[in-house]
């Protein structure tokens, strides 16, 4: 199925947010996830399954002033 991750289209099999983050090696990182413009709490990653057309934002901290 098609989802949008950080503005880019991705084709992925059905999976949870936790599984997706693992697949892109993001799971051990201090990140935050927004699914369809709502914050997803870390405790919800395993129980939230991605659906066709979902929009994910995955962010972390970078240098800034």
């Amino acid at each position: 199925m098609k989802i949008i991750v950080n503005g880019e289209e991705q084709i992925i099999p059905a999976m949870s947010v936790h599984e997706y983050l693992h697949s892109i090696e993001c799971d051990p990182m201090p990140i935050a996830v927004e699914l369809n413009r709502s914050i997803l709490k870390k405790s919800e990653y395993r129980t939230t399954f991605l659906a066709e057309g979902d929009q994910l934002e995955i962010v972390w901290f970078v240098g800034g002033g």
Binding site: V5, N6, G7, E8, Q10, I24, E25, C26, M29, P30, I31, A32, V33, E34, R37, I39, L40, K41, K42, E57, I58, V59, W60, F61, V62, G63, G64, G65
Partner: protein, 260 residues
């Protein structure tokens, strides 16, 4: 007065250092960590950005910042609307598990001056959601009072445009702001060198926040130390009380007993 007794508080949290530093534009994370250490800062700002999914540098900024020692202050740099700034703050809280945010809503790419209308909107929402909001704003006493009235934990008027190094362009407004609000006043942006930081502190500001002045210096680690000393010197001078300015001289040596 030693630094140990001269503490200050933001939203009930006590700090010793009055210098807050950014983490942007360093040659590498190692240099950044050394500069932060040399600055003596306890609060460091960070930006919130998309993870690069396809080509990720696995090293995280947070590998270089000891969260037991430093308080993270995520910013909303690059946001031009209240909506984007609020979204960014919510993400920052989830990533960093802290309520502290440096709220900036920009109005213009060339000046990076704040869009104060959007800033007020965002601040109102974030305060209601329990954030500790530190807003970057103009050196405008009325805006600062409005931000305090909304429940912001501090106000952060600019000294000059971000990254400009022009120093404190309107010290008189900064003084009026300090008379107008009870929350801490932190000069954010515009500092170019150590004397600018000292001037901000001599005016009686509670703190100074800077990034480019340190990271952009030829030797960022030495400049971080200079800023550390300048902020402490400026604070001490403020507490000590400067002499009044006079047009004519007053002799320091006795007038009596001059030979001849």
């Amino acid at each position: 007065m030693s630094q140990h007794t001269d503490t200050w508080k933001i939203a009930g949290r006590e700090f010793r250092s009055r210098l807050m530093v950014g983490t942007g534009k360093y040659a590498d994370f190692r240099q950044m960590a050394q500069a932060i250490e040399a600055s003596g800062a306890e609060i460091v700002t960070v930006a919130v950005r998309r993870v690069n999914i396809s080509d990720r540098n696995k090293e995280s900024l947070l590998d270089y910042i000891d969260l037991k020692k430093y308080t993270l202050l995520p910013n909303t740099a690059g946001c031009y609307s209240a909506d984007d700034a609020v979204r960014t703050c919510r993400l920052a809280r989830e990533a960093g598990l802290s309520d502290f945010v440096k709220l900036e809503v920009l109005g213009d790419e060339k000046t990076l001056f704040p869009d104060n209308e959007e800033l007020l909107k965002a601040a109102a929402i974030l305060v209601k959601e329990g954030f500790t909001v530190l807003p970057y704003t103009s050196d405008d006493p009325i805006m600062c009072r409005k931000l305090e009235d909304l429940g912001c934990a501090a106000v952060m008027p600019l000294g000059a445009p971000i990254g400009s190094g022009l120093g404190i362009r309107n010290p008189y407004n900064i003084r009026i702001i300090m008379e107008n609000v009870k929350v801490p006043v932190i000069v954010d942006a515009g500092v170019g060198t150590a004397s600018d930081a000292a001037i901000a502190m001599e005016l009686g500001c509670d703190g100074v926040l800077m990034n480019t002045a340190i990271s952009g210096a030829r030797d960022p680690i030495a400049m971080a130390e200079a800023m550390n000393l300048a902020v402490r010197a400026g604070r001490l001078a403020y507490l000590a009380g400067r002499i009044p300015r006079k047009l004519y001289a007053t002799a320091s040596s006795p007038l009596e007993g001059v030979i001849g």
